[in-house]
């Protein structure tokens, strides 16, 4: 029972990181109907940048985190300007954008490899103080609590931004109808750029938390989460922010529960992706349908 409880707790934390990553994915998809396949590379670079700031610039993680998140957001602006904006008026913009985002992902990953090296690295010991609580046989670390707090904080901030802020309403308007948004006097290109900034900042934050949680960073750390992130947004409903959160948690929990129940990690991904197909059969549009970004 304690093993199961422990796995549930672990699944919650890893699911939170998946959710954070997937929310960034789904945000761009919800606004532009385009998959940004460079999102995982931004995730990686966010994590590596935080590591560099801690290791080489001597910053604490509390300073390095917001700076690296900002850096990831700026990468999002670069992505928009280089990979998507020039193609926006083309009739094949969905497909060509997909391809150019793959190209950007390769460029970002190569840069990461060149700058940070191809090896595995980790945050220096003591980056986050090690505090461990035991509650009825379940172990929770301070790091886990901090990760969950950071995820929840960012999710709440994003949801409120979309719901109440002027710019959030403009994002939803652009997501619903770009032509109508233009006629309302919304700077559509500016809103799209801001959406990329937000999306990539969240992706970068997920990368930092992922690196802290697993205590490992490398230029290819984005590979496994790229596909999982796609599965999560399909599971939750394409373009739906609450769906991505729910999908992330479901995915994380299914992974750790598979390990706990089967006793081996061999089946982990198989079960998680089988769950995806199962839910697709019952709810083809995902857990929360699509288009919910517009209703936020």
């Amino acid at each position: 029972m304690n093993v199961l409880g422990q796995q549930l707790v672990n699944g919650l934390f890893i699911g939170g990181v998946y959710a954070l990553f997937a929310v960034g994915y789904t945000l761009v998809f919800g606004v532009l109907d385009i998959l940004n396949l460079a999102h995982a590379a931004v995730f990686t670079l966010g994590g590596l940048m935080a590591l560099w700031l801690v290791q080489n610039a001597g910053l604490t993680i509390w300073t390095a985190f917001p700076l690296a998140v900002l850096f990831a957001g700026l990468l999002g602006l670069v992505l928009d300007q280089v990979a998507f904006k020039p193609l926006r008026r083309r009739p094949d913009t969905y497909f060509s954008g997909l391809i150019s985002s793959i190209a950007m992902a390769i460029i970002f990953e190569s840069l990461a490899m060149g700058v940070f090296g191809a090896h595995n690295s980790r945050f220096p010991a003591g980056t986050v103080p090690v505090v461990i609580w035991r509650l009825g046989g379940i172990t929770i670390t301070l790091l886990q609590v901090e990760i969950l707090a950071a995820v929840v904080l960012m999710m709440v901030a994003l949801t409120q931004l979309l719901k109440r802020a002027r710019v959030g309403k403009a994002i939803r308007a652009v997501a619903e109808n770009q032509h109508a948004a233009r006629l309302l006097g919304i700077n559509v290109d500016g809103i799209i750029a801001f959406t990329f900034f937000l999306s990539s900042a969240l992706g970068g934050a997920a990368g930092i938390l992922f690196g802290l949680y697993f205590d490992a960073l490398s230029p290819d750390m984005g590979r496994p989460i790229e596909l999982k992130g796609l599965a999560v947004i399909v599971l939750g409903g394409m373009g739906s922010v609450p769906g991505a959160i729910l999908g992330g948690l479901a995915f994380g929990l299914s992974e750790v529960l598979t390990v706990a129940i089967s006793g081996t990690s061999n089946l982990r991904d198989a079960v998680a992706f089988t769950l995806l197909f199962g839910i697709m059969l019952v709810r083809p549009s995902g857990l929360l349908g699509r288009g919910r970004l517009r209703e936020a």
């Binding site: 109508a180 006629l183 309302l184």
Partner: protein, 245 residues
Amino acid sequence: MLEVSGLCVSYGSVEAVRDLSLKVAAGSVVSLIGPNGAGKTTTLNALSGVVPVHGGRIMLEGRDITRLSSHQRVAAGVVQVPEGRLVLAGMSVRENLELGAYCRPRQDIPADIARMEERFPVLGQRREGLAGSLSGGEQQMLAMARGLMAHPKLLLLDEPSLGLAPLVVKMIFDLVLELKSQGQTILLVEQNVFQSLAVSDYAYVIENGSIVLEGPAAKLAADPAVARAYLGQAGPSASAPITGR
């Protein structure tokens, strides 16, 4: 107020609007009429800056706005209520109104919304409802109110009565008259030609992307060529072309 000269718009190799010139005097209502595909909506979209202009000049109150982007045009006072209404269906009525005032100072918005809800009571009653749940006529009211939220100097109305019940159509034209009496400058595109001319001061007839006829609205309404062109386009089975004139 508005002075357009030599306007040209092309989609690929197709010239949608060719050397079009028109004027809208401050405080007047001007109609742009013509058959489907003549370039009416394209002209309005060129004025709104949402389609690229290949030639000509657009002057608003003596200021050249030809090169301004769409959001700069709205800020300059050119506001379009588009064909098909294009309310943001997944957002609430109130949010639609708020977005209509996107280019306005924030502190003015609540008072403006209150005024719109007074003018269109249904928008107040359905404040938190989704715009997509409104009826067609209510959506048109919302689209008009949303356009007015921007405090337009020049209001561009594209087919405001399209697909609406006769009673609602009357409300729309009454609203145009009311706005006119308050000094609102309007450029009106309508398939409902005779009602449109009845509320207008001046009118232009557009065919194949060019102005072929212009004159005071009352004079055009009495012109047999207009009647012929209009009836010829609409055909006998089209919706409610006869308004007793």
